[in-house]
């Protein structure tokens, strides 16, 4: 895919695959176009050339943004239910489903709270419930955990991994965090420095599932892969800096 906001292309010939049920991460330098790529996949941005084919109807693709972007004037239940209403679920069933998913994400008792009256981690869970309740086959995540502190983050991530594994959902996760990328994913794509960024390489992660996101960091394959990714990412940034100079 090639993508531009009017000037020089942000992405040029960037290409990646996500197999059904796979958890795939996309890492790369800041400003390289990771968010733009996700936005193109979900249809918020039209690529100059190339295609994004999820092979799925739009309502089976969910997106989790960096900030929660819940409607502040709707309660947790209403926010989750709205997502369901928009795929044609009637309002009573939507409310019921919403409560079930909120409960599954540990938010029992928070159904009637407004987003501004819950913590950041809880908001993230509400947003997650909103996406998961629609039973998507693919979820695109744009640094969804970046704003959370380490403990809350690891708990939310653990829940996400468990749900994604049990429901067989494919994930394309954008993250800055190489460790997170490796510990969660089946494959990691490294996007080069922009402009005209393209995929440098794909790394398969040979850690078995089901996974514990914390323990998988202790797997023997983890450290060498992390070192390799880190080296390649640094090389790419340095290389581009030299080119610019």
């Amino acid at each position: 895919m090639t993508l531009s906001y009017g000037g020089e292309p942000v992405l040029e010939g960037a290409s990646l695959d996500v197999e059904p049920g796979q958890f795939v991460s996309l890492v790369g330098p800041s400003g390289s176009g990771k968010s733009s790529l996700l936005r193109a996949v979900i249809g918020l941005q039209r690529p100059l050339s190339g295609t994004t084919d999820t092979g799925l109807p739009a309502n089976q693709v969910g997106m989790l943004f960096q900030d929660d972007a819940l409607l502040p004037w709707k309660t947790a239940r209403e926010n989750v239910a709205l997502g369901l209403r928009l795929i044609g679920v009637n309002s009573q069933a939507a409310d019921r489903e919403a409560d079930i998913w909120l409960a599954r994400l540990g938010l029992t008792g928070f159904e009637n709270r407004y987003p501004r009256h819950v913590s950041g981690g809880q908001r993230k869970r509400i947003a997650l419930a909103q996406v998961l309740a629609r039973k998507p086959k693919l979820i695109l995540m744009d640094e969804p955990f970046a704003s959370l502190d380490a403990i809350v983050r690891s708990r939310v991530v653990k829940d996400v991994v468990a749900l994604v594994e049990s429901e067989g959902i494919s994930v394309l996760l954008v993250t800055h965090d190489l460790e997170e990328a490796i510990s969660l994913s089946d494959a990691v794509y490294l996007l080069g420095q922009g402009p005209r960024a393209h995929i440098i390489q794909r790394y398969d992660v040979p850690i078995p599932r089901p996974r514990d996101p914390v323990k998988s960091r202790l797997h023997p394959a983890f450290t060498p892969l992390h070192a390799k990714l880190w080296e390649d990412l640094s090389k790419e940034v340095d290389h581009r800096a030299e080119e610019a100079a």
């Binding site: 309502n59 409607l71 309660t75 709205l82 407004y114």
Partner: protein, 251 residues
Amino acid sequence: MTLNPQYAWVRRLIALAIFLAIWEAAARAGMLNPIYVPAPGKIWLALVELFGDGRIWPHLEATFGAALGGLALGIVVGIALGILAALVPLIAELLEPIMTLLNAIPRVILAPLFVIWLGIGIASKIALAFILVTVVIFFTVYTGIKQVDRKLVERIVTLGGGRLTLARHVYLPSVAAWVLGNLKVAVGFAFTGAVVGEFVAASRGLGYLLGFAQSTYNSALMLALVLLIMVVVLIIFAVAGKLEKYLLRWT
């Protein structure tokens, strides 16, 4: 010494009582010219008289009618124009300079003009209250819509929401929130418009009574009226505040 904020109102009441007592004493001792500064007791008597013989009611009714009429019209028209301007660039282009101009001038200077156009009846007062309110509401809605959180819009779009969903679940609540946030300002403007309109030319209303008190050098009546207007506006502020608090309970 630390002050317990819970009892601020007690301290204020005591201070007010002391102030009034000194004022009253000074007036009785003949230290104040009653033509300029009437004693608090006299102001109170004037107030009692206004209500006692019931002649205040038609005036209150006139002022309330003009203020609330102007407020309602101003909110409706302000919202409609704000939405139109936000949706149709041509309308924005035409309206913006007019509204900016109306916003820049003290709009009460239009009062005499409205009297010429609409007569000394309630219409000219409604018009003044309306023009004061509608400009504020217009800018609230217009800038508000343009600043609707892109992220919320994108989120609803990725969930499959179309224009109608966006209008109902994103734009409408945002607009309502901004209007409610400015409700007190609008109420204040509506009463300003009504009273000033009446003051300029009218046969009824609190503003008319103010003019009457002025022409007869009745400063006790004048201060009684000022007090009354303050109380009225404070009561409406309290109601608007409650409404705002309830409807914006999600903030």
